[in-house]
Symmetry: C2
Subunit: 162 residues, 2 copies
DNA sequence: CGCTATTGAGTTGTGCACAACTTAATGATG
DNA sequence: CATCATTAAGTTGTGCACAACTCAATAGCG
């Protein structure tokens, strides 16, 4: 699978020197954007008492209902090393319950508490503020999302193929 | 400054429910892309013995020469809480020197060692591999960079205006 | 000049990301 | 069915991000 036939299909006579400079820019842009996003959410979510990754987990649970840790990890591409302590903190905050599955005792199912479910109402107002703060149009957001999706898929595939 | 005149200029009758779902997608896309990028670089940089943030710092030093911690932080939007330990690790690895400035003894100037400067040669081959792995054209990369730049600027401005 | 505010770097504490590992349960195979 | 491989979750250790803080040096002002 993945023949990876190309050495550099559309990179003509760009010297390494210049690529290093461009790399600087792209790395930096993505890194900075991700952190700016996180920083803005940090403020927006402070009232809810959630961090940004905790918010992502709650979004999954609000949308999809009770899920084993494994499924949440696949959805967010996070492993148990990240999720286990995060979920324990959500449990300590009274937002979720963790229960071993009876069918498969290896699996731990995460489900919302009443408080966790109610928190969704407060969260409904968050995205509009964020979207407004981005200064992007809805079309640009959708376009950005599409490019980022392809980027992630290509990078993880390339990383796995090693 | 920053009149921020608009409540929601181009968000018509989209209900909160749907925005929350869209938010899920966008947050996730950016978060996942950033981590996929970092993951790919982690492998590419393993030979150089650098982490991704360390690579970003080295890029600044390779491009701009000796710089105080403050200047590096402004370039990468990182504060001393992140940079101080990172720079100590680069120093321990023999790649940089940290010297108090004589003109202003509050300032610590970071400069490359011979080994740090030589590492640039090995790093020259990295960006081409990464660019190929993204599966994006050069035009798409430039477009992505432009959107991300505006996104970061808008978000940090909105965050500061609180 | 002397005092106060500001600035640059560093430290501490919390949380996330991830690699490497452990443990327990399940599945597969001879 | 007994053994071995696989799987899910958790643990440990390292490094980054960031808030809140300390400390020393400098700048500004009366």
């Amino acid at each position: 699978m993945t023949p990876a036939p190309n050495a550099s299909p559309d990179l003509p006579a760009v010297p390494d020197e210049e690529l290093l400079r461009l790399d600087h820019q792209v790395c930096f842009s993505l890194h900075a954007a991700s952190r700016a996003f996180g920083g803005f959410y940090r403020q927006a979510l402070k009232d809810l008492g959630l961090t940004y990754p905790q918010y992502l987990v709650m979004l999954v649970l609000w949308e999809e209902g009770p899920r084993p840790v494994k499924a949440i990890g696949e959805r967010l591409r996070l492993d148990s090393g990240t999720l286990s302590p995060l979920l324990k903190r959500l449990e300590a905050a009274g937002l979720v319950r963790r229960e071993r599955s009876r069918e498969d005792e290896r699996s731990v199912v995460i489900e919302l508490t009443g408080e966790g479910a109610r928190l969704r109402e407060s969260a409904l107002s968050v995205p509009r503020g964020v979207l407004a703060a981005t200064g992007l149009s809805v079309e640009e957001v959708l376009g950005l999302q599409e490019v980022l999706g392809r980027l992630t898929a290509a990078l993880t595939e390339a990383a796995d193929a090693r």
